[in-house]
């Protein structure tokens, strides 16, 4: 067990925790805006930490880069969709 393995385990473990916490929030929070808040934590931090933990295990620099690109794309689409849903909610409330 090397130091890098420990790093992977720690990062993926914390990432999984954020996914778990995000899911609990999605199920338990009272209204759509707070549920959205919980969901984006799973996307941003959870997936980010899992990707970070997988980086040392990638076969090549290219596949490591792909992991980062996947995270960046999920960040982009996740945050934009959250904005769109939030806006639709605000319009619905008026």
């Amino acid at each position: 067990m090397t130091l890098l393995d420990l790093f992977s385990i720690a990062a993926i473990g914390v990432g999984t925790f954020f996914f778990f916490a995000g899911t609990v929030g999605l199920l338990r929070f009272p209204d759509s805006l707070t549920r959205l808040h919980a969901l984006t934590k799973a996307d941003n931090l959870g997936l980010g930490l899992v990707a970070l933990g997988l980086l040392p295990r990638a076969d090549s620099a290219l596949s490591a880069l792909k992991l980062i690109v996947i995270w960046a794309l999920v960040l982009l689409s996740g945050s934009s969709t959250a904005q769109l849903i939030g806006r639709a909610l605000r319009r619905g409330r008026k």
């Binding site: 690109v69 982009l76 689409s77 934009s80 904005q83 769109l84 806006r87």
Partner: protein
């Protein structure tokens, strides 16, 4: 049983659960969301069955494009429901519908359960063909699709075009030739425009990469084309480009280009390689990529046109 087989069992149970909730959902939108989740789970199943090509298609088409299609269709159905008075179907009609559905499901189940052992399979033949005429391609899936069963693949693309013609033909006579209604009626919001501007260039690049890499690795024309189609839909939703008119020459040329190029090269095979839809072995790879490039274009045009719907009078200038 190791950890992975437990995961497989959980995945299978999840799929059955999601499928049941999708069927049982009373709300149209809830059913569509269930269907999209079902498609994504199915993509995982294909990954577990070591079929990444199918998984890519399932995620892109089965879940992504079909999801958008169903949501748009649901919205239009909802608009119709408000306009027309609600009529409850008669009990006998419901009973007959249920019986017909049970009959179809029963026939499918019987067909699967009564398969002889070992089940008949074309797989060995197809695997042999993948080493033959389509040689030069590192991805046996693409070799089978484009060489062993090339005629079927071409017909599949023709079906897509027929579907577009079918969608266009339900428009009103007065609207013929005009563009379909915009996907978002009032005005695109800033986050949507931002998303389209940031995502579309990357998505187009990834789509082309998936098509190109399909010759040697999982990927291919359909998966790449579906991604390009998704990117076109995103920029249409952000209203960065206008819906094309259905009588636009370029749109029709792009739509038929895939099957047309495929058919012409297939016919030419009679003279260059000795049989219909055969390729000269030395040129197989460049020819297949050439055909696939046009199929990507066709798919990228056909799928958004299916989602966009029939031509509408409102968008007339």
């Amino acid at each position: 049983m190791n950890l992975l087989s437990y995961l497989d069992v959980v995945l299978a149970l999840l799929i059955v659960g999601v499928a049941s909730t999708t069927i049982a959902a009373r709300d149209l939108f809830a059913a569509v969301v269930g269907y999209v989740a079902y498609g994504l789970l199915l993509a995982f199943v294909w990954i577990r069955l070591y079929a990444p090509d199918v998984a890519l298609t399932e995620a892109a088409v089965g879940s992504g494009v079909t999801g958008v299609l169903l949501i748009t269709a649901g919205k239009r159905l909802g608009a119709l429901k408000n306009a027309a008075p609600e009529v409850q179907p008669a009990f006998t009609f419901k009973l007959l519908t249920g019986m017909l559905a049970a009959l179809v499901a029963g026939a499918l189940a019987a067909a699967i359960l009564l398969l002889p052992d070992p089940p008949p399979s074309l797989a060995p033949e197809a695997a042999a063909a993948a080493d033959g005429a389509g040689a030069g391609l590192g991805n046996p899936i693409t070799a089978v699709l484009m060489s062993y069963r090339s005629f079927d693949t071409m017909l599949e693309k023709m079906v897509l075009i027929l579907a577009v013609v079918g969608v266009w033909s339900v428009g009103a006579d007065k609207a013929w030739g005009s563009a379909p209604a915009e996907l978002r009626q009032p005005k695109a919001t800033a986050p949507m425009i931002f998303l389209a501007q940031m995502l579309a260039p990357v998505g187009v690049l990834i789509g082309i990469h998936i098509f190109w890499t399909g010759a040697n690795a999982p990927g291919g024309a359909f998966q790449g084309g579906a991604l390009l189609a998704a990117m076109w839909m995103v920029i249409m939703m952000a209203q960065l480009v206008k819906m094309p008119r259905v009588d636009a020459q370029w749109l029709r040329v792009v739509l038929v280009s895939g099957p047309a190029v495929f058919l012409i090269i297939g016919l030419a095979g009679e003279f260059t390689a000795g049989s219909f839809f055969a390729y000269p072995p030395s040129l197989a790879k460049p020819i297949i990529l050439f055909i696939e490039a046009f199929m990507v274009l066709s798919i990228a045009a056909a799928l958004p046109m299916l989602v966009a719907g029939p031509p509408s009078e409102r968008s007339d200038p």
